[in-house]
Symmetry: C2
Subunit: 492 residues, 2 copies
Amino acid sequence: MSKKLTKRSEDYSKWYNELVTRADLAENSAVRGCMVIKPYGYAIWEKMQAELDSKFKETGHQNAYFPLFVPKNLFEAEEKNAEGFAKECAVVTHYRLKNNPEEKGKLMVDPEAKLEEELVVRPTSEAIIWSTYKNWIQSYRDLPILINQWANVVRWEMRTRLFLRTAEFLWQEGHTAHATRQEALDETILINDIYANFVENFMAIPVIKGVKSESERFAGAEQTHCIEALMQDGKALQAGTSHFLGQNFAKAFDVKFANKEGKLEHVWASSWGVSTRLMGALIMTHSDDNGLVLPPNLAPIQVIIVPIYKGEEQFSAISEVAQEIKQQLVDAGVSVKFDDRDNVKPGYKFNDYELKGVPLRIAIGPKDLEKDQVELARRDTLSKSFISKDSVAVVIPSLLKEIQETLYTKATNYRDEHISEVNDFESFKEILNSKGGFISAHWDGTAKSEEAIKKATKATIRCIPNNTKPEDGVCVFSGNPSKQRVLFAKAY
Amino acid sequence: MSKKLTKRSEDYSKWYNELVTRADLAENSAVRGCMVIKPYGYAIWEKMQAELDSKFKETGHQNAYFPLFVPKNLFEAEEKNAEGFAKECAVVTHYRLKNNPEEKGKLMVDPEAKLEEELVVRPTSEAIIWSTYKNWIQSYRDLPILINQWANVVRWEMRTRLFLRTAEFLWQEGHTAHATRQEALDETILINDIYANFVENFMAIPVIKGVKSESERFAGAEQTHCIEALMQDGKALQAGTSHFLGQNFAKAFDVKFANKEGKLEHVWASSWGVSTRLMGALIMTHSDDNGLVLPPNLAPIQVIIVPIYKGEEQFSAISEVAQEIKQQLVDAGVSVKFDDRDNVKPGYKFNDYELKGVPLRIAIGPKDLEKDQVELARRDTLSKSFISKDSVAVVIPSLLKEIQETLYTKATNYRDEHISEVNDFESFKEILNSKGGFISAHWDGTAKSEEAIKKATKATIRCIPNNTKPEDGVCVFSGNPSKQRVLFAKAY
């Protein structure tokens, strides 16, 4: 605890890794690229889950559960999707271990227990789900199907980072089936809007809604809608995606329905997901050199109460007040903890809760008792003030709201200051490397220019923003005509 | 819908399979032994999860998440555990597919992408978790660790049945670490009690608490506590287990802590779990030849309202009353649906909701409107009555409570009538085959007799019940002395 975190300005990446492990959010495991999500980190994820789940249900979605494994022949059915994920998937080939005759106490794969057909550990579930929907859909009356699944998925990433890119991660994946193209498109956009509202209002992270360029699309999609956030180091992070799949999966799995006229048509589809990656976005949007900063909506502990005392008598008097305040806060719907441990000092506790991003800290010492006050410290601004003991239950709930809004405003200001309109490639490169952030530039719409820009700068098209006005211009790279600006950035 | 379910008396197993699929609970998938849990079935599972999760949290447990994969060398560390699961585990050997050069559009395992060390898909997580705890535990101050995980696990069962035995299933698994043997034992029993209370009070399934004989214990445990339920066909079903692991995993993974005196000791452990298997117990405890019967606590829809009408005018008048009643019920905390579909007849709806186990059905026809009444049908007793429209919001909540209790009482009576005290092996066999159920008999405590009885009758020792009084007797099989009766049964 004594050691300070690496400063963001020194080494942003190191700061991130240290913060994640020292704030008890997650750690690397004995399995390459797979993480352990620790209780404190998982409690934050549970809050995200609960909120998102209620939004899905409010809009008519139901949860279900589909198999972890995808037989290889189903996996390869939708060609683009298969191609997109084949290079990074875990494959189950055997169903038994046996004793190793050459090494006592050791096990080996039993060659007799080879599967006839290999099983892919799902990197995403379109294939297994559409092979199931085939049996569920006969008529337009069976549509729409609006299903979501909370699950683990595996993508064999070579370079992994806690939360941001891990071989196994947790997510939700929605898979919907519709009678018309328009309905599936509407669903795709509805969900992208739900994601945007959730990430902005609940996580206090501003996002830009838009669509992906063809080369950045989900493998197998006709359109990928997305929300893009900006991290403090000027790199973008894709926070959620919602795909319009057209009839691709319906065709790959031969899923047809009889329309009202009795004619057979292929079904239209969407799929969409957000993952534990959002934890990375959360951390990198709000936190500072002292550790995690949590928006009150997501904080497992919103208020920590720390007693400052010498001797049993003081402790007992302070505890009484602390318990009283705690109860008032609980009654006001605030999540609060009284840390009465006697084996660590207040300073240690202060640092620890700062590191863990608890939004508000109340400290109570003997002088405060005399003055009927408590010391209140805000995690986001690191400012302190004294408030009357009797006003706690009134002040704190509104202060938590204020902190939530302040964090959002701060992040929005940062983001807005880091969108640069650029009209030539030299400035593009210069600004990307000096200031970072989003670069709003004209692009000729070709994969060739996109690829060349990426190669030259490592910047990708994050999205074609929904709110961009058409504007005639010339491509920042090729000089060819362009109809609108798109957003480039280096990205996680 | 028109076809009736197979009767339980004709073919219990067929009845079960038909019910599970036709009530939209689950179905087999394209992956051998893996099921799809459909939205209606998953909604029931979610209710179980929410209730159990709150009970775990109330008793100081936190959720976390550990990797899906267990490297083979960790898997084999605790020898008995490894031996118990090695024969039925899915093994990941490769991390990439590539295009099959011999068959266009097909993929094959890339031999270049062979893992140096194979990964076992977790059949249970003791190994991966204890290899993690090793780094979390130094001192007695780090203890206890009280962690639960909601996850999927894979056991390569050869004969699978929806919910009861599937290659992949969903469960929660708790893994706790303690400074003393007594603490770990207390935890083991606390959890078994939580399971018993949950299954009895929430699922309306009576259970017998007890401990397993040595040969029925969890691989790697020193004691396995369990709750055993009895199905309508006279077979027992293990509904939950809580294991006292002693120091076995701490020794296998070298997990030690410094006690208050600064001396290093191995940590004590428990682990415990319930799974989607509980869905099977739920179905087989309460349901009948018309389909599922759900205790109101678990019913996604507690009350269904069906209008009976001819023509638009009647429909509109009935709808108005239905909506009014619906709102009253929602306000009373009841989960209610008004089925106003016009493309299926009331009789179809009646059958459908009966099949799905909706506890109460309200039917409203034109005559009911005249009389200011509604027809109320109970799913559990299939009885009907008329109640005044204005009393609905008062009658129904208390009736739901009554149904919950009635189901529990009915199941308890059935169970109690199916515990037979038996003193000789001929009666043992005779009663097992004619009446079924639990057989309470003396056993000499040896694995030899236990095995011989199993071989001769297919009955296993379900548990040594906690509430059995010591009683001198002779083993029903060997004639050797015995100190108490244990419960035998054929089991799922």
